[in-house]
């Protein structure tokens, strides 16, 4: 199964670097084509892969924190608060600082949700989920208000929020790669604890797991990954939700399998969807990648619901 995932990633990567708005013969490139390949296409494909990996990993981490398979960066409010930060930057005309504002927004959202959901130093998953939904609603309302205030900039806000990798650069790739490595290293030794966390908190605590500390660490890592992803690529929905679900269906249940597989699966999925987004229209036009991920995500969830409704019915 792991080999299949790696093959999927490799296939998506090769397809993505081979196709695009401009036809390029990879083995015989002119100067312009070489520039397009090195300055535009390659950084973009790499950024798409990294953002996909980051979002899928953050989705898994949020699901562990909340003990809820439907949790992701949207339900925790981190995505919306990052987007709010980015929209403030757009409104103030501070375009080069969008990632910084998105990061600040995401971290502020993280602190707020974590503060609301903590009681006597312990994080309550249900409270956190509810606080996340409230924060998400509040951030969305603020974004709508800012759109209303800046009529002329409304299209730039809308298009930015739809997500995309047009502004990919090698430096962004490197920063996001470092963030993913850092987050992954933070949780690398906690695989067993994550599996135990799937049981109830008392069982996890009785085995020596510091549940509260682990939750805080996971939440911080997931929020960091989301904030950087939103800052670099806008809001891209459903990746953190569908990739872990697909992988669980493929028997990647243990954390030691699920987390690395999420990285690979997320990267492959995002590279493939970005390839569709930039090649589906003619004359070099592009679709926002968020439109494609959300459409595929919606269809996939419907499929899951229809396929599993019988067992869910009997389970209930």
């Amino acid at each position: 199964m792991r080999l299949i995932l790696l093959a999927a990633l490799l296939t998506a990567f090769i397809a993505a670097i081979s196709a695009g708005a401009v036809k390029i013969d990879l083995f015989n490139m002119s100067e312009i084509e070489r520039n397009i390949f090195l300055d535009v296409r390659l950084p973009r494909v790499v950024l798409a892969g990294l953002v996909g990996a980051a979002l899928a990993l953050s989705g898994v981490l949020f699901q562990y924190v909340m003990k809820n398979p439907l949790a992701d960066s949207f339900t925790t409010g981190v995505s919306a608060s990052s987007a709010m930060g980015a929209v403030i930057a757009i409104m103030l005309g501070l375009m080069p600082y969008i990632p910084l504002f998105a990061l600040a927004g995401g971290l502020a959202g993280l602190c707020l949700v974590s503060r609301i959901a903590s009681h006597r130093g312990r994080i309550q998953p249900i409270t956190m989920l509810l606080a996340g939904i409230v924060l998400s609603t509040f951030a969305s309302a603020t974004i709508s208000f800012m759109k209303f205030l800046s009529d002329d900039a409304v299209s730039s806000i809308i298009f930015w929020l739809m997500g995309g990798f047009q502004a990919a650069t090698a430096s962004k790739d490197m920063i996001l790669f470092a963030v993913i490595c850092l987050s992954f290293l933070m949780i690398r030794d906690d695989y067993l604890k994550l599996d135990i966390l799937c049981f109830d908190d008392t069982t996890a605590s009785s085995t020596g797991v510091d549940v509260n500390r682990l939750r805080k660490k996971l939440f911080f890592a997931a929020a960091l990954l989301t904030a950087f992803s939103v800052g670099y690529a806008g809001i891209i929905g459903f990746v953190g939700l569908i990739i872990p679900h697909i992988l669980r269906l493929g028997n990647f249940v243990k954390a030691s399998y699920l987390l690395p597989a999420s990285l690979i699966g997320g990267a492959a999925f995002m590279i493939a969807t970005d390839l569709i987004a930039r090649t589906i229209l003619q004359e070099g036009q592009e679709l926002p990648v968020g439109v494609i991920t959300s459409s595929i995500g919606g269809v996939f969830f419907l499929y899951l619901l229809i396929k599993r409704r019988k067992e869910l019915f009997y389970f209930n």
Binding site: G20, A21, V22, E31, I32, N35, I36, D39, V40, R41, P43, I90, M91, L92, G93, L94, M95, P96, I98, F148, S150, D151, D152, A153, V154, S155, S156, F159, W160, M162, G164, Q166, A167, A168, T169, A170, S171, R278, E283, G284, Q285, E286, L287, P288
Partner: protein, 279 residues
């Protein structure tokens, strides 16, 4: 007893009198009635206000959008996409000038008792036609003709270029949106002697940066304004480092609004093209 023949004659005479009176009144109404021109106008498209000012109709404007800075001291009725219907009705205008049917749809039109004029020109010629139409509606045909003549004269200042330069016009940097075939900017570029390389049949199109590099325009014009606030200059964007184009920064409000300013914009762009040709 009145004889029958006399009665018939009198009836005939009365009928003739009624007909003459009717004709007379109709002629009087046609020639001597007060003009039915518009008196209270709300402008929902900022590019129109300078035209109305030029036509001497400033005092007719009773309301504008909040982004319209050409007219001071009138009621601001909201934005061009969301005008406040209560305010519109309170102003009781007899004419509303809106941008397009999408901006002021039929449902909204139903709720306001005023005539609606849609101003949505796609070319410089369209602007001239619209100016004439507005002039006729406000009974200021002469002033409209004068304005049209002046704008045409302004365009005649454009000098021919040794070679038609190719252009890409950036409307927004992130994501990259450029002016398409249906944009007024294509007409401005064309009037200035250039050629917009983007032939997509839309006003604006989100296109790939790969495509820009492949097209390699002579000029990469990027606007700075509400739609593209403080963008990173293209020459500083890593993915454009190999782009050999000349980067031109222009003011969005001078170029992207399809009004009188568009003619000055064409002349200005022509000067830039000419300057580059001499370099």
């Amino acid at each position: 007893m009145i004889p029958k023949r006399k009665l018939k004659k009198e009836k005939k005479g009365a009928g003739r009198l009624v007909r003459t009176l009717f004709l007379g009144i109709t002629l009087c109404l046609m020639f001597f009635s007060p003009a039915l021109a518009y008196e209270k106008i709300v402008v929902l498209y900022p590019a129109v206000s300078p035209i109305l000012i030029e036509l001497g109709a400033l005092d007719m404007i009773v309301g504008t959008t909040r982004s319209d800075h050409a007219v001071k001291g009138v009621v601001k009725v909201g934005s061009h996409l969301r005008p406040n219907i209560e305010l519109l009705n309170a102003l009781a205008p007899d004419l509303i000038i809106a941008g397009s049917r999408r901006a002021f749809p039929y449902e909204m039109k139903e709720r306001v008792k005023a005539d609606i004029f849609y101003y949505d020109p796609a070319t410089l010629d369209d602007i001239l036609v619209k100016i004439k139409k507005i002039g006729a509606m406000l009974e200021r045909k002469d002033k409209a003709e004068n304005l049209v003549a002046r704008l045409k004269k302004r365009l005649s200042e454009i000098s021919s270029l040794p070679r038609q330069p190719s252009v890409i016009y950036e409307v927004m940097a992130e994501p990259l949106r450029v002016a398409g075939k249906k944009s007024i900017l294509t007409s401005i570029i064309s009037a200035a002697g250039g050629n917009n390389l983007v032939s997509i049949n839309k006003k604006h199109a989100v296109i790939s940066t790969e495509k820009v590099l492949k097209l390699t325009p002579d000029f990469y014009v990027y606007q700075v304004g509400p739609m593209n606030k403080n963008p990173v200059p293209p020459e500083e964007r890593p993915f454009y480092k190999s782009l050999k184009s000349k980067f031109i920064r222009i003011n969005e409000l001078e170029f992207a609004r399809p009004g009188i300013n568009a003619f000055d914009a064409a002349v200005k762009l022509n000067i830039i093209f000419k300057g580059a040709a001499h370099e």
